[in-house]
Amino acid sequence: MSDDVHEIVSAGLKDNLARLWRYGLVLSGSRDTAEDLVQATCLRALERVHQFQPGTHVNRWLFTILSSIWKNELRSQKIRQGTGFVDAEEALVSDGAEQMETNILVREVLKEIQALPEVQRTTVFLVYGEGLTYQEAAETLDVPIGTIMSRLASARARLGQLNEDGTKRKGKGRRG
């Protein structure tokens, strides 16, 4: 039985490595820290394999672990080191030639997302990026569902405002 669970968790880790890394990147804004988070999540998940309930979603369990590690351990450390919350320009947007060929709009969206406060960014990612329901996102982040809804509303209002501001700026430009 425990061997079965270990296999499920191991396979779950293997299948979700890139998604965990992406989540770590969204949380921390740092590619290196994202790798650290994946590493710590692998370790923690294997340590606590007995806590996984077969039949439940292993990916959500892993996301919860990663969230917890970030919130309780690495986040404060990175802030203390001054390496958390880097500028939008250098966080979610990669370097290299690949970037040049990528849809500019999508890059702009990533910049806008990165500029959101961490809690909003994370919630947007879980709901709109990972497709979690509000309830699932609430469980992953260990917050009430109302908090999830509030964060999404704030994020969308903020992004909506960017559109309005952009439109006004363009209007002024045309007039000038």
Binding site: L17, E35, Q39, L43, L46, L105, Y134, L159, G160
Partner: protein, 287 residues
């Protein structure tokens, strides 16, 4: 799943839930009715709707950029931790272990090598993949890029430690003595457990590492049963001795000195004064 059945004022949260298709039919109809007759609400709705973006597409792009090979390596190391040094025959400890750990070409920075060791060590400490009681959670680690000094590498390694990393280490004095003796023999030093035990540190284990081909030993402790602190010794062969100096790396306080061809450092997220006192105590016992 979410509804506004109490029909109070419609909030931004309700409107976003409506946009996300998270309202039940009754609440959806209610929101639509209100939108049709409330101009201010409609303006709010327009703003929130304008906050939509191709989120999934944007996040998918990040997925494509994940460092897949390195992530596979991370998992591989977590699933297949290297053997404890104590189980490796002496004459093959260098070459043989390098085959399993350092033989794999990987584009990692130096601290990542050390970090991988942390995973292996912590898995040992947790006793997940091996027997519950592993006296020597030591591993050897590949050489590091030339631009990084050993203290920088250790600082990055140490920054990965949390209380839980050390909690499950062996408590048996005899096993700890053996662990310590084996680890210190790696750098050619002989000290018993009493000598390296300094209040308020609680010795947890000694790990064997390597930096740029030079043997390095980490003595891991918990300070006041809470905070990981390490005493590290590297046989670096540097001829110039110097006394205890303080520095800070990655938010961790360090006291280091050089003596007799060895580099020593005490490092942890505890006050500099405490680190200094520990360093002075250890230095006096070593001389």
């Amino acid at each position: 799943m979410t509804n506004s059945r109490d029909y109070g004022p419609i909030t931004d949260e309700d409107l976003v839930a409506y946009l996300d298709g998270m309202l039940d039919d009754e609440s959806t109809e209610h929101v639509e009715r209100e939108l049709a007759k409330d101009r201010a609400l409609e303006e709010r709705f327009t703003l929130l709707k304008a906050g939509d973006r191709p989120f999934a597409e944007a996040f998918d792009l990040l997925l494509q950029e994940a460092p897949h090979r390195r992530l596979d390596d991370i998992l591989d190391r977590a699933l297949n931790p290297p053997q404890p040094v104590s189980e490796i025959p002496a004459q093959t400890a260098s070459a043989g272990e390098a085959g399993s750990l350092t033989g794999r070409a990987r584009p990692w920075g130096g601290w990542r090598m050390l970090a991988a060791a942390a995973v292996a060590m912590a898995v040992f400490a947790g006793g997940v993949l091996t027997a519950r009681f592993i006296p020597v959670p030591g591993v050897k680690v590949a050489s590091l890029p030339a631009q990084k000094g050993w203290r920088a590498a250790v600082a990055e390694y140490q920054s990965l430690f949390v209380k839980a990393t050390l909690e499950n280490s062996a408590h048996d004095w005899k096993a700890q003595e053996e662990n310590l003796g084996r680890a210190l023999s790696h750098v050619g030093i002989k000290l018993d457990l009493d000598k390296v035990s300094v209040s308020p540190l609680d010795f947890k284990y000694a790990g064997i590492l390597e930096f740029k081909g030079k043997p390095l030993v980490q003595l891991a402790y918990l300070y006041d049963k809470q905070t990981p602190v390490s005493f590290c010794i590297i046989r670096n062969g540097k001829p110039e001795d110097h006394g205890i100096l303080a520095e800070q790396r990655l938010g961790l306080n360090i006291s280091h000195w050089q003596a007799g061809g060895y580099g020593f450092m005490v490092i942890g997220d505890v006050p500099q004064q405490a680190v200094d006192e520990i360093a002075r105590a250890l230095k006096s016992r070593l001389s």
